[in-house]
């Protein structure tokens, strides 16, 4: 599992004036997003793949985002227990959560649906933010988005 902070949008990288340690990544177009089934089956790679494809609006990503939003809102209070099913270590759980927060923030950045920002704010309160680059990226993006409202 990679703990590096990945971002996929050069414009966002420039807007937020991110340091070089946060590298732009391109996953290419070969990865296929599987059908959404349940939150407990989602892995970090799925979230990263979703994030990489947010600039292009696709129906399947829309289904994933709505279902994830709903799960997080309904189960937010037990989110740490839910993540323990898949990720045994704290570091793994936190990197998953950090990517989930980035995913929600980026969704709001692209689709202007404020519900995703709302959920990101709530999830951020549950995160330990132990990875410095990801913490920096999420906090800068959140601040930028809050100022835009």
């Amino acid at each position: 599992m990679s703990f590096n902070c990945k971002i996929f949008d050069s414009e966002l990288h420039d807007i937020l004036k991110l340091p070089k340690s946060i590298e732009l990544t391109d996953l290419g177009t070969n990865s296929i997003l599987r059908d959404y089934s349940k939150f407990k089956f989602i892995r970090l790679n799925d979230i990263i793949l979703l994030r990489s494809r947010l600039q292009e609006e696709r129906k399947s990503e829309g289904v994933w985002s709505e279902r994830i939003l709903r799960f997080l809102e309904v189960r937010m209070i037990n989110i740490n227990e839910s993540l323990k099913l898949n990720y045994m270590s704290v570091k793994e759980r936190e990197v998953f959560k950090e990517n989930l927060i980035s995913f929600l923030l980026e969704l709001y950045y692209y689709n202007h649906d404020i519900r995703f920002l709302n959920t990101a704010i709530k999830l951020n309160k549950k995160a330990k933010n132990i990875h410095a680059d990801h913490k920096l990226y999420n906090s800068k993006l959140m601040e930028y988005l809050m100022n835009r409202i």
Partner: protein
């Protein structure tokens, strides 16, 4: 009028429920039974996981402050509405002397409630709060379960929809919607929409206070009109709206600023 209804209530002394019950009876509508959701630790846990700290404020207002919660600037509140309409019913249990069955239940979707609903063979069910209602109850609810939602449907489904409309600067889409309940959240057929215009110095609290008498008035009117075939439900499409959830504090603060600045 030979029409019978069942009422679902969030607590026995709800000002909203008791006002609705008394006005329905004055309209000649027979209340067969009231199902009141009991206050229990499990209920508190469920609702706390959904509403968070907001639940504590709600309990404080509804169960501790009660009438004292209305001592602010907003005169169009439910207490004044009750005074104006001389509504005296203060607890659902008082209905028992009028021959109404009152049940206090832990779970509104239990087999007990289901069998009772089945035996009443009611014309309609009126929902005044108490959480999600499952299909086993919906199917024995006569024409259906009517709810008054504190937002404009289909755009604003779910929680805190006044706040969300304000945050979207959608000030013309603030009001209440009377609709049938179904499996999805606020996705059932619409009976009536009533928009409520904002006042100059409105706050979120004021708006909510002002909505309470409007909800009583509209719920009673719509139940009466529906039972008399004066209104027909209109289907709403799932894609025409979104489900909103409890608003976070930073966004609530933004919302308050937008409300205060809207006339500047």
């Amino acid at each position: 009028m030979d029409k019978k209804v069942i009422i679902i209530s969030p607590n026995p002394s709800s000002l909203y429920t008791t006002s609705v019950c008394e006005l329905l009876m004055r309209h000649g509508i027979q209340i067969q039974a009231v199902f009141v959701k009991k206050f229990s630790l499990n209920r508190f846990k469920d609702e706390f996981s959904r509403d968070g700290v907001k639940l504590l404020k709600k309990i404080w207002k509804k169960l501790v402050l009660r009438n004292r919660a209305y001592q602010d600037d907003e005169k169009d509140n439910i207490l004044n509405f009750r005074k104006k309409h001389k509504i005296s019913l203060s607890n659902i249990s008082e209905l028992e002397k009028h021959g109404v069955d009152v049940f206090s239940v832990d779970n509104l979707n239990s087999q007990f409630v289901e069998s009772k609903f089945q035996s009443y063979n009611t014309d309609l069910v009126v929902f005044t709060g108490g959480g999600l209602i499952r299909e086993n109850i919906l199917k024995f609810s006569g024409a259906g379960i009517i709810n008054c939602h504190m937002g404009i449907l289909p755009m604003y489904r779910g929680m805190d929809v006044i706040e969300w409309a304000v945050l979207n600067e959608d000030f013309d889409n603030i009001g209440v919607t009377l609709h049938f309940m179904e499996k999805g959240v606020d996705t059932g057929d619409i009976l009536k929409i009533r928009k409520v215009p904002l006042k100059e110095r409105d706050t979120i609290k004021n708006i909510r206070t002002r909505f309470e008498p409007v909800m009583v008035e509209e719920l009673v009117a719509v139940v009466f009109d529906f039972l008399n075939h004066k209104i027909k439900p209109v289907k709403q499409e799932i894609i025409d709206g979104k489900q909103f959830f409890v608003i976070s504090n930073p966004l609530l603060e933004k919302c308050k600023v937008k409300l205060a600045n809207r006339l500047k």
